[in-house]
């Protein structure tokens, strides 16, 4: 059973969003995503300052087998990419909700985050997808 923290919001493409205290949002891939992808060996995170739109492919994670796009759940400006992933891509597998975060965005509106799935909804979504 996949781990789905209740304090985060989720997308159908298996990203999570954490609301930070300064109003920024942290983005990563879910436990379900990392488990489905297998051992991750490379991550390409967006450059700081890049403007991203919700649903836009803006990061890439690569497992031994394949490359997968990561879509920004929110529109806004990228304020940080996780530099630690360059040397430790395995953090994506080991701590998908912690040290394996991908990038942080200063969102241009609060509405998009509110429209994302709750943990309960994402859990249901995974259950339906697996059927």
């Amino acid at each position: 059973m996949s781990n789905i923290p209740t304090d985060l919001r989720y997308t159908k493409s298996h990203e999570w969003v954490r609301q930070l205290e300064d109003g920024a949002a942290e983005v990563g891939i879910t436990d379900h995503a990392q488990s489905a992808l297998g051992d991750l060996v490379f991550a390409e995170v967006p450059e700081t300052g890049r403007e991203v739109h919700a649903g836009e492919a803006c990061a890439v994670v690569e497992s031994v087998k394949a490359a997968s796009d990561v879509y920004s759940p929110l529109s806004g400006n990228v304020i940080a990419g996780n530099a630690a992933l360059a040397s430790q891509p395995e953090l994506l597998n080991q701590e998908p909700y912690g040290a394996g975060w991908l990038f942080r965005v200063a969102p241009s509106s609060a509405d998009e985050a509110a429209a994302l799935m709750s943990a309960a909804d994402y859990g249901k979504y995974l259950a339906d997808e697996g059927r």
Partner: protein, 366 residues
């Protein structure tokens, strides 16, 4: 429903993630592909390769037949049990399949061909065999387990009775022998020492469990691919196929042009190809972080025109080197560095001579 090997249930017991592989339901990994890879480089791992096709060939004229069928020359097999790697070619020089053939008696050979090419291989072999009155027998009654790694032979031998153990451990590299109801060969697809064991289907699950109990770690197709690529070994369908001949697939060493009188299928086409510059088949080491993948474009400095770009035929992340490596078919070049296009951007990669890794050690400078 896909085809299942006799070890399918064993894979489920070990928590395999099952994927479709050429119509077969095979284990991709049992949790971590990278840990399985390291287990083979450092200790011992086992692969279910029962999906591969074992064919026994026999007849008075079988040697003569194989000297026509195969690009490598079975005359090189002088003692029973000795193995030979070869391509089987179309008249135009394209590769129908790559295979291993073992001499099993003066009038019989055993061949192991790829799973995905089973039907076309058998059809081709049977058609060619008619003129030589050679019997072609597919051995669906056999399962095959590859046990690979520095400790693989010892751990496998621990399952055998003392006399059998001695004959198994006495096998020289690239040789096989019948040991009781098993055929044990000191061959593999990982760049490590080890055995490939062909055994009756009904013994397969019990043997797999015994090997596991002896400390051999189950490894899936994912690790098999990263191991073979590190070892610089070609994969049929990626690195060679019916549209590419062996000389542009890094397999020139497997074509026996001597003696000139041996008229194997594809010979005339290869003789002609040998006289043209053609493309070369190289290893690549990505200089930066990222992952090389098959079909990525390779730009060679100075090359112009339609055929100026090369292509990655197999690429992966190398767990042993912690870098990305690839095999590629490129225009001939004196350059040491080429550029590979990854998601629209060019990244430098150096040309290196495979294998990248052998017997647990890096063979290229990082």
């Amino acid at each position: 429903m896909g085809l299942k090997t006799p070890l399918y249930d064993s894979h489920l017991v070990h928590g395999a993630k099952i994927v479709d592989f050429g119509g077969w339901e095979m284990p991709l990994h049992y949790g971590s592909q990278i840990e399985e890879h390291h287990a083979v480089r450092r200790d011992a791992g086992m692969f279910d390769v029962s999906h591969m096709c074992v064919i026994d060939l026999s007849g008075e004229r079988v040697r003569e037949f194989l000297q026509v069928l195969l690009a490598n020359d079975v005359a090189r097999l002088k003692v029973a049990g000795k193995a030979l790697y070869s391509c089987m070619l179309l008249p135009g020089g394209g590769v129908i399949d790559d295979l291993i053939v073992y001499l099993t008696s003066p009038t019989s050979f055993r061949m192991v061909v790829n799973a995905g090419t089973r039907e076309k291989d058998l059809a081709w072999i049977r058609r060619q065999a008619k003129d030589y009155a050679v019997s072609v027998r597919e051995r669906r009654d056999l399962a095959m387990i590859a046990i690979q790694g520095p400790n693989a032979r010892q751990k496998t031998a621990s399952l055998l009775a003392p006399a059998e153990r001695e004959s198994a451990l006495g096998l020289p590299p690239f040789c096989g022998a019948a040991v009781d109801s098993w055929f044990i060969a000191r061959t593999g697809y990982t760049g490590e020492d080890g055995f490939e064991v062909m055994l009756p289907v009904e013994d397969a699950a019990r043997t797999w469990s015994a090997l596991h109990a002896a400390g051999v770690r189950p490894a899936g197709l994912g690790a098999r691919d990263t191991l073979r690529l590190e070892a610089g070994m070609n994969l049929y369908g990626n690195d060679m196929d019916e549209d590419h001949h062996p000389l542009e697939s890094g397999l020139g060493w497997t074509v026996a042009f001597e003696p000139g009188s041996r008229d194997f299928i594809g010979r005339a086409a290869l003789e002609a190809a040998r006289r043209t510059a053609g493309r070369e088949f190289v290893g690549l080491l990505l200089e930066e972080r990222g992952v090389l993948r098959s079909h990525q474009k390779v730009c060679v400095p100075g090359a112009t025109g339609d055929s100026s770009a090369g292509e990655v035929t197999s690429g992966t992340f190398s767990p042993t080197l912690n870098r990305s490596i690839a095999l590629a078919r490129i225009p001939r070049t004196e350059a040491a560095i080429v550029q590979v296009e990854i998601r629209g951007k060019l990244y430098p990669a150096s040309i290196v001579q495979p294998p990248f890794v052998r017997h647990g050690k890096a063979l290229i400078k990082i």
